[in-house]
């Protein structure tokens, strides 16, 4: 009989903390090569999407709000743009993932891609509503979606429970 190996609450929380810190470091500190900047991956969204897939909509909602507001604070834009898009995306992805019997790698990638598209749509909508100019170029956003999805897949994999053990 295959049972997932037990993992303590501390280790589960530690994995989440490491994921979020890594996402913020990648997003705010790594000064990427120009071609990477122009395709604009969103590592924070990837982390939030991975969290929602693996740990559910509730945690995704809460951490999505916190991460979104942090992202707003680290950028020069309005407080509440990412603070709205991240929890909404986490909520939707968490709900969809909860319907799946098993979260396979391909499903995780597709969900992360959906998250990236939904987040971009919400951001563009909020920019339109608030009258904010959007700097990101359409091509950059288009190419950034699969990169963000790949990062989301990696985040979901990082948060996956340990390999099953045979009893």
């Amino acid at each position: 009989m295959n049972l997932p190996a037990p993992e303590s609450r501390f280790r589960r929380a530690l994995r989440v903390a490491i994921l979020l810190v890594a996402a913020f470091l990648l997003q705010t500190l790594v000064r990427p090569a120009p071609w990477i900047e122009r395709v604009a991956p969103d590592f924070i969204l990837a982390a939030v999407a991975g969290l929602a897939m693996r740990r559910g909509a509730s945690l995704g909602l809460g951490l999505g709000l916190g991460a979104g507001l942090l992202q707003d604070s680290f950028s020069g834009g309005l407080l509440g743009i990412h603070g709205s898009s991240k929890p909404l995306t986490a909520f939707v992805i968490g709900r969809i993932a909860a319907q799946a019997r098993e979260l396979s790698g391909s499903l995780a990638f597709v969900l992360a891609l959906v998250a990236a598209g939904l987040d971009a749509a919400v951001l563009l909508f909020l920019a339109w509503v608030t009258g904010a100019e959007v700097t990101a170029r359409p091509l950059a956003v288009g190419l950034g979606l699969p990169l963000t999805a790949f990062a989301g897949w990696a985040a979901a994999r990082w948060l996956a429970p340990p390999a099953a053990s045979t009893v």
Binding site: P34, P41, D42, G76, L126, A136
Partner: protein, 276 residues
């Protein structure tokens, strides 16, 4: 459970909507935003210091063998620059004597030197965080320069940190002037499609004004944000536009991907009186 999640989501979205409404209607800097800028500027400075230290150590380990020859080359370079500085000082003294020009009137007298400690966390914006704030004399809308040209303007100020909107941002605009044909326009970022792939576009330029590729583009001072005469970039493309207008692409003078140190000038209050 599900109903609770949906209610929580609605509450979050509602609060964010209120926050966005307040911010878009308020024209001045919000205290909460100043506090955020200070707190997260500190965090970014700390993390950037760690990254730079780690990078410096790794680089030093790799380049131990090259250090001596580099040092000799640098010493020769410093000697040459010192000589050029001496010559330039002499020229400056001569020009001052001839024209009586007061450099302080150009607003370039005492810039605040600042380091970039972080970049925007959002793919939608082009901003950077500086390790200088209101306590160092930085104020909102202050122009920011690098040694090679105009960088942008300060949009948020905390006590020890500030955030700068780059001129390549879509929401940025610079009243500009071409140095040779004296053609006026407004430089906008994020307009690559019209500008044929360039980072900046010079808008409102009509056909027949004689703008040519390679021309220097400087600030005109008419926007009351940037003093006149700051180098912004060079014309990289001139394409047929719509109607009587041409699409002018401008490559920034500053390499924003390698920018580390900048100068914050005093904010402009009036257009330059020396406008031709």
């Amino acid at each position: 459970m599900r109903r609770g999640q949906a209610v929580a989501l609605l509450v979050i979205l509602g609060l964010n909507f209120v926050s966005l409404t307040v911010q878009t209607r308020a024209n001045s800097e919000m205290p909460v935003r100043q506090a955020f800028t200070t707190v997260f500027g500190s965090a970014q400075q700390l993390l950037t210091a760690v990254r730079r230290t780690a990078g410096a150590w790794a680089g030093a380990m790799r380049r131990v063998g090259e250090t001596r020859s580099e040092r000799e080359a640098l010493e020769a370079r410093v000697a040459r620059i010192e000589w050029e500085l001496t010559v330039a000082r002499g020229e400056l003294a001569r020009v001052r004597g001839m024209t009586g020009l007061d450099w302080r009137s150009l607003g370039l007298a005492e810039p605040v030197t600042a380091e970039i400690v972080g970049v925007s966390a959002s793919p939608l914006d082009r901003t950077v965080t500086l390790n200088r704030g209101s306590s160092h004399g930085v104020s909102r809308n202050a122009p920011v320069m690098a040694h090679s040209g105009l960088v942008g303007r300060v949009v948020h100020v905390g006590s020890r940190f500030s955030q700068v909107e780059l001129i390549t941002s879509a929401s940025a605009g610079v009243a500009a002037l071409t140095a040779e044909s004296r053609t006026r326009g407004v430089l906008r970022g994020g307009r690559t499609a019209e500008a044929g792939g360039a980072d900046l576009a010079l808008d409102y330029v009509s056909v027949g004004q004689g703008v040519e590729v390679g021309e220097l583009v400087i600030s005109s001072g008419l926007d009351r944000l940037y003093p006149k005469g700051l180098v912004v970039g060079r014309v990289s493309r001139v394409l047929w536009g719509t109607g009587m207008l041409v699409d002018v692409g401008v490559e920034p003078a500053v390499d924003f991907d390698r920018l580390e140190r900048v100068f914050v000038l005093p904010p402009e209050s009036a257009p330059s009186p020396t406008d031709p």
